[in-house]
């Protein structure tokens, strides 16, 4: 099926197999391999991308479902040579080791910061009606869909904090 997805600001019209996941669309059809395949099963978060500004697991979604959607991947974050504040924060805080979960962690952080700014509560938000404070507990809860087997969690927490500070 001819499917057009706007990826990192560029329209990508591709004849895709209806079985193709959004993840394989990005990696194998469009050649954007920054989005990683860790489990292909919605359990690790390595394939996290932003679809119309909302973070999702690209492996759990079929490409044909996203005709006309806007997808932002890790390759679309930096502004030329200048890293996105979240990327820079991950680098500065050493918030990764092997790096395989990192694009997903970074996209997830971008999504998290937007969700918090929009006042969307999480499981650990005490006051569901009030504004959301970016506490450590909020960060841990909201980043728990992104597994880091190298276990850089303390540094990821610091990176999210640093990025939130840069965004504020």
């Amino acid at each position: 099926m001819l499917t057009t997805i706007r990826v990192n600001g560029v329209d990508r019209a591709v004849e895709v197999d209806p079985r193709t996941s959004l993840l394989d669309f990005l990696r194998e059809r469009v050649g954007l391999k920054g989005t990683k395949k860790g489990c292909d099963h919605g359990q690790c978060g390595a394939c996290t991308v932003l679809v119309n500004g909302v973070r999702i697991n690209a492996c759990l979604s079929l490409a044909v479902m996203h005709d006309g959607d806007e997808v932002l991947t890790v390759e679309g974050l930096a502004d030329g040579e200048a890293l996105h504040p979240v990327q820079q924060a991950f680098l500065s805080e050493d918030a990764f080791q092997c790096g395989y979960c990192t694009p997903g962690q970074i996209c997830s952080t971008v999504g998290l910061l937007a969700e918090v700014a929009a006042g969307q509560p999480s499981e650990v938000t005490a006051d569901l009606a009030g504004p959301v404070t970016l506490s450590d507990a909020e960060i841990r809860e909201r980043m728990s869909g992104n597994i880091c087997r190298c276990s850089a969690y303390p540094q990821i927490l610091a990176a999210v904090r640093r990025a939130a500070g840069a965004a504020a």
Partner: protein, 754 residues
Amino acid sequence: MSTVRDWAAPNPVTENRSGLIGKSVDRYEGRLKVTGTAPYAFEVETPSQPLYGHIVSATIARGRITSIDVSQAAAAPGVVLAWSHLNVPTQAQRGAKLNPRSQRGSNPTLASDRVEHYGQSVAFILADTPENARAAGGLVRVAYAAEDADLDFLSSLDLAGPAPGEEDARVGDFEAGYSASEVTVDDTWFSPLQNHAQMEPCATTAWWEGDKVVVHTSIQMVKGGQHALAETLGIPSDRVRLFTRYIGGGFGGKGQSYDDLTLAALAARESGQPVRVAYTRQQMFQATIHRPAVQMRVRLGADRTGRLNAMALEAVTHCARNAPFVEHAANFARNLYAAPHRLTGHRLVRLDIPHAGAMRAPGEAPGMLSLECAMDELAETLGLDPIELRIRNEPEVDPDNAKPFSVRQLVRCMREGAQQFGWDRRNPTPGAVRDGRWYVGMGMATAIRGNFLLPAKAGLRLTGDGLATLTQGMTDIGTGTYTILAQITGETLGLPLDQVRVELGDSDMPPAPGSGGQFGAATAGSAAFETGMVMRRRLAELAAGDPRSPLYGEDPTLMDFANGNIVLGNRSESLAALAARAGPDGVYVEGGISPAADARDWSQHTYGAQFAEVGVDSVTGEVRLRRMFGVFAAGRILNAKLAKSQITGGMIWGVGAALTESNAVDPRYGSFLHQDLGGYLAPVHADIVNLDAVLLDEADDKANPMGIKGVGELGICGAGAAIANAVYNACGVRLRDYPLTPDKVMAALEAKGL
């Protein structure tokens, strides 16, 4: 052969005049990783459109394939080829070596109708797209004649036999010493089967250039992978070029190659096109190695002052029937505590299950989960603080072999850790501290892990643009190899970091043993350092012998290196100018490191002390980490930021081992119960709170010329035991069956009437 005395003289790294050693510089390859542009094995550019492979796995534990039909799969859309053992291209016999010096023998896939474990490859599909390959895989029809299989570890303990080539280590008369002891502990712990669960599944991209195959694969050991593939294909290893530049986690599980490598190479040869093959997450669990289950009986006998009189750690562990591997869960005890009467050893149960193998800190990781809890029990029985008990048993020399310690700061780790953690606030009475519905407790344990130096080489080129490029057949599995090699090279040559390049993971480069056993930094780093020293001598001689150099005619041994220049007194010349005059390719040297002749005259280990505070939910039995802190001594630290990442990562593995990580064999099929990350519970972000570590100042001048040691595995050692001890301190129940999941905690609380 050098001796450790040769290493004692000051050198550029130990002098560290430009301060690169120890500095918390960002990861060398970090920019590539945060922008998603570091190509992992499945992602490398291919010379032409690639094909995609899919492996079909066996669904029985043991038996014979009575029929296998790939014809439907072969006729499916997009399929290029479909193989079973009946039509796979010829490979060398298992274990065969064309070259007797190969590090690995042939490891053929789809080799026969025999099935030796669930998840073994039985068929392979190559197709134009991943979707077509996987769909066709579902069309392969296999019939088996299943045979009786031994699958369950705990019900097979009576089958346990001696580990091949090993004897128990006995000192004194354990039985007599134990029965004569005033105070005793005798308990049995169980650590379950665990999986590496690296984020990147094993994967290979392969293509042929004439009679030579180029493979990019995710492996920790360059030479091992290259040799295994060459021997399997029956070709000389110089016809296999293996790359492994970025590796999405290894932890020991990628210390060897798997069928993805062999099948990608074979399929690329047969199809004439590049081929990508990756395991699925589910396949990873059974197609690659795992940490075996370990049952450990610990017996401690002491006098009333806490002096150990007798110590035994007897481990029973499993391995695959035809792939011997011993999880040496008892070995560390031999170096940790002295007791006049000791017994340590291992028994092995052979099962018809996937291959057991090395996983981060093999031996110590499960082993310390028993002994370090037994010490906690002994301390409580004696009414002693657990730290004081350990200090009273701190040996003067290595208890195993009476060798002097190169350096052993275990007591300092415990004392500084106690002080910084606030150990004095621990109430020694279990169950005494409540926070609402939570029982709160603290626990500690020691950490010990060996230090190793293996032979390694490196290449170093200095070019006319002033860049130094270090090349090594080494790997960086997230450990920081790229970064620390750049720091070592920069400091050795007096070059700023932005003038240093590091290239790794190529079988054409000077060989290094790879990443494993926390020997990587010391081994690869020492080779890089020695190569830098060779370059210094070469450059000094070039300057001294070149009339165009301001240093012409001077004594090369007096020349120094700083700020990109070679210097003598007030005269200097840039390294760039020297290299430019040497020729278009600049100056290239190779160097290497070998263990010192007398290295084994000292006992060399890394040490630490782990502290944990947990809450135990009195209603649900859930254990939650509240904070964790460790102090470690692991030689000179090359990069404080990256070393701490390694250490805290290891500590979090200990949290997983204590609280969540476990797999088991399904007795019906020989499969693992958990085959994904929703069932196999590695720690996630919400599980880890307030976790920190400190690395003590240390230099181990017996370890290598730089006085560095490894940090990759130390952090996991003892971490889980500290948590288990904290659980006991919190609620007064001793659980010896890891992980300490809510069902077990609940049952224990109920049994205590809580």
